[in-house]
Structure formats: structure tokens, C-alpha cells
């Protein structure tokens, strides 16, 4: 059986994919905020001074242990990573859809966009 796909159907599926990603990410972030407020509600706030707390793919170990300890910031960060992964997933889907359409030009163009995205996510700074 051949999978039938055209641009219209591709875009509809992309729309659903993106919505799913956003719903998942927001749910995680909302849960994270809730726990964050439970812990920190009465503390004074200060974002006036910039104190970098870097996070990247290499910190996944640290994130996982944070979640297992119920660390609210780690839950929010996973939600944010999920959100960032959502448009990337759209491009991955486009690569597959153009392959099914046998549109080699656009398979290559989508792969180029995916390459740039993956490069930026794995080679930060």
C-alpha cells in the first residue's frame, strides 16, 4: 500500500503535531510553575542582575536527577526543551512527507533546515 500524501494533508498533520507539542510543553511548564510557587512564593524576586545558569543537551543527566527529586525548575526546563523540540519535529516530518511525495528538491531543502537546527542545538555558543 502506498501512503497518499499531498501538501495540504502534510500541513494539516503538521498543524496537529505542533498543537500536540505545545499542549504537552504547556502542561509540563504549568505543573512546574505550580511547584515552583509552592517552594518560592514568598521569596523576593530579582531578575535585575544577570546570573547565567547554562542549560544544554549535555546537562540532561542533571535535569533527570532534578525531576526525580521533584525540582520545579527542572520540570519547567523539560517543558521548555519539549517546546523547542516541537518545530524541530515539524521539520523532521516535512523531510519524511517530501520523501513520500518523491519531491527530492524539497527533501533536500528540508534536510538543510534540519541540519542547521541540529547543528545549533548540539554546538551551542
Amino acid at each position: 500500500m502506498r501512503l497518499e500524501i499531498d501538501d495540504k494533508r502534510m500541513e494539516l498533520t503538521m498543524g496537529m503535531l505542533l498543537r500536540f507539542g505545545v499542549v504537552m510543553a504547556s502542561t509540563l511548564v504549568l505543573a512546574g510553575v505550580f511547584f515552583f510557587l509552592l517552594d518560592h512564593a514568598r521569596q523576593p524576586v530579582n531578575y535585575r542582575n544577570f546570573v547565567p545558569h547554562p542549560l544544554s543537551i549535555e546537562h540532561r543527566q542533571q535535569l533527570l536527577s532534578g525531576i526525580s527529586h521533584g525540582d520545579a525548575a527542572a520540570i519547567i526546563q523539560v517543558g521548555i526543551l519539549f517546546l523547542i523540540a516541537t518545530p524541530v519535529a515539524r521539520v523532521v516530518f516535512a523531510v519524511m512527507a517530501f520523501l513520500l511525495e518523491r519531491d527530492w528538491l524539497y527533501t533536500a531543502i528540508s534536510l538543510a533546515v534540519l541540519g542547521v537546527l541540529l547543528f545549533s542545538l548540539t554546538h551551542p555558543s
Partner: protein, 280 residues
């Protein structure tokens, strides 16, 4: 201010920014960053980090609704994303090396320019005759969209190299300032490449999320994205922009647009003055 009050106020402010951004089509980022820095005294780097996250959320959240209308072009979007994503990496690279004061001034200039663009484009009509770029068919960018009577109206794309380079610039701005730079993207497609307005705006929405994702990795590793700030901003802008998209049909869009033009003009001047004086 305690964390609880701050979180609630930032959530409310972000919701208003998202609402206005959706109603006027300029996106929430352009009012969000000045709001966070000028009113909440947040460091500019945290503000653009949080804004970038909200940009990805709104672009992705609105996509499903836009797709259903059938205007957006996945090919034009994907082709131009090559330029915007590379631009975004370059922009994020600069953002980490340019002094905050200079970033604030640049942000102000972009605000004033967006304000001027919106002023100029009010009540505009579609082009009559365009000279299609020979690459339009070769790159399969020509397409069609549903007209008012349901019939398909076909279009071709003009000035592809110029549009592509403008998109590279839009990517740089997005990566430097954490905004979607939707105004520049629409400018490139609608004014330069002569793509129909509705196709331009809906395709721009798709591109914004991918462009922002390209600089997000760099922002994360630089510590620009603070969870305590990014979370209420992301949720607020998302709620605001989705509400805005629903209200769009029943709103006095023309009046809102005038108000918004004035607001971003004032914010632009404020950003330049405060950036210049080093108060941010």
C-alpha cells in the same frame, strides 16, 4: 516584590502582550521585551530569552488554525527557513557578544521601524501585475490559495534572491532580540517577493517557530532562559494570543492597530533612551 506577585503580574502582562500581538498581527515579542525590561526591571538577556520561548509557543499553537484556512505554503516556508535559521544562529552569536546597551538601542530601532511599516501598510490592496522570478516555477514556489468564492487563485513569486537575503536579515534580528520578527518576514514575502498578503502572514507564522528554535539552543547554553521567568511569560503569551485569534473576527482591528502603532513607537523611543543612558 515576592515571587508569587511577580509571577502573577508577569503572567497578566504577557497575556495582554500576546492578545495585542495576535490582534494586530505583529506578535507578542515586540511589546513583551520592553514590558519586562522597562516595567519589571528584568535584565534584557532574561527578557529576550523568555520572549524567544513565547515566540515558539505562539507560532506552534496558532499553526493548526492557520493551516485549516489553506493559505500557508509549506514550500515557500521551508525554502526561506534555510535563510532564517542560518540568520538566527548568526544573530544569537552576536547577541552574546554585543553589549546589552547596544542591543536595547537596536531593539528600539526595530520597534520604531515596525511601527512605521504598520502605518504604511494600513488598508493596502494586492498587487496588480508582478514579474515572476524564473526560479519561482523551478523551485516549485508558485502556488494557489482559496479566493472569496472558493475558487483557487494562483500566484507566482518574484525577486527570490532579494527575498531570501531579507529573510536572512529577519533571522539575525530574531536571534539577536528574541522576537519572531514577523513584520520583517511579511515585508520580505509580501512587499519584495509579491506573495499574496494572506499567504505571507500565515506562512510567516510557520517560519517564526522554526527560526526561533534555531537560536534557542544558544540561548539555553548561555543561561538566557530562566525557568522562573520564562514559564509565566510563555503561558501568558500563549493564553493571550490564542484568545486574540478567537476575538479577531469581532474586534475593531483598525483602531487597535492605530493604538498598537503608537504604543510600539513610544516603547521604541523608551528602549533607545534607556539603552543609551545604560539604565537597562
Amino acid at each position: 516584590m515576592t515571587v508569587l506577585v511577580f509571577t502573577l503580574l508577569v503572567f497578566a502582562g504577557s497575556a495582554v502582550a500576546g492578545l495585542l500581538g495576535a490582534l494586530t498581527g505583529l506578535g507578542g515579542g515586540v511589546v513583551l521585551v520592553p514590558l519586562l525590561t522597562l516595567a519589571f526591571h528584568v535584565d534584557l538577556r532574561y527578557a529576550i530569552g523568555a520572549s524567544l520561548i513565547s515566540v515558539i509557543a505562539t507560532s506552534s499553537g496558532a499553526a493548526a488554525a492557520y493551516v485549516r484556512e489553506g493559505y500557508s505554503s509549506v514550500r515557500i516556508g521551508m525554502f526561506l527557513e534555510v535563510a532564517t535559521t542560518i540568520g538566527a544562529i548568526v544573530g544569537a552569536f552576536f547577541a552574546a557578544r554585543v553589549p546589552t546597551r547596544a542591543l536595547a538601542v537596536l531593539f528600539g530601532i526595530v520597534l520604531i521601524y515596525s511601527s512605521w511599516l504598520s502605518w504604511k501598510s494600513r488598508g493596502r490592496r494586492d498587487e496588480m501585475t508582478i514579474i515572476a522570478d524564473p526560479l519561482s516555477d523551478r523551485l516549485r514556489l508558485s502556488g494557489n490559495y482559496p479566493g472569496p468564492g472558493g475558487q483557487l487563485i494562483s500566484y507566482k513569486v518574484a525577486n527570490i534572491p532579494q527575498g531570501f537575503s531579507t529573510m536572512f536579515g529577519a533571522g539575525i534580528l530574531s536571534g539577536m532580540l528574541g522576537i519572531g520578527s514577523g513584520a520583517v518576514k511579511v515585508l520580505a514575502m509580501d512587499q519584495i517577493m509579491k506573495i499574496p498578503f494572506k499567504v505571507s502572514t500565515t506562512t510567516s507564522n510557520f517560519m517564526i517557530g522554526v527560526t526561533a528554535a534555531a537560536s534557542a539552543g544558544i540561548y539555553l547554553s548561555r543561561g538566557y532562559i530562566d525557568p522562573g521567568l520564562a514559564a509565566p511569560v510563555m503561558l501568558g503569551v500563549l493564553v493571550g494570543s490564542l484568545t486574540g485569534a478567537r476575538l479577531l473576527a469581532r474586534s475593531p482591528v483598525a483602531i487597535l492597530r492605530y493604538i498598537f502603532i503608537v504604543v510600539i513607537l513610544v516603547l521604541g523611543v523608551e528602549m533607545i533612551v534607556n539603552g543609551w543612558l545604560g539604565r537597562l
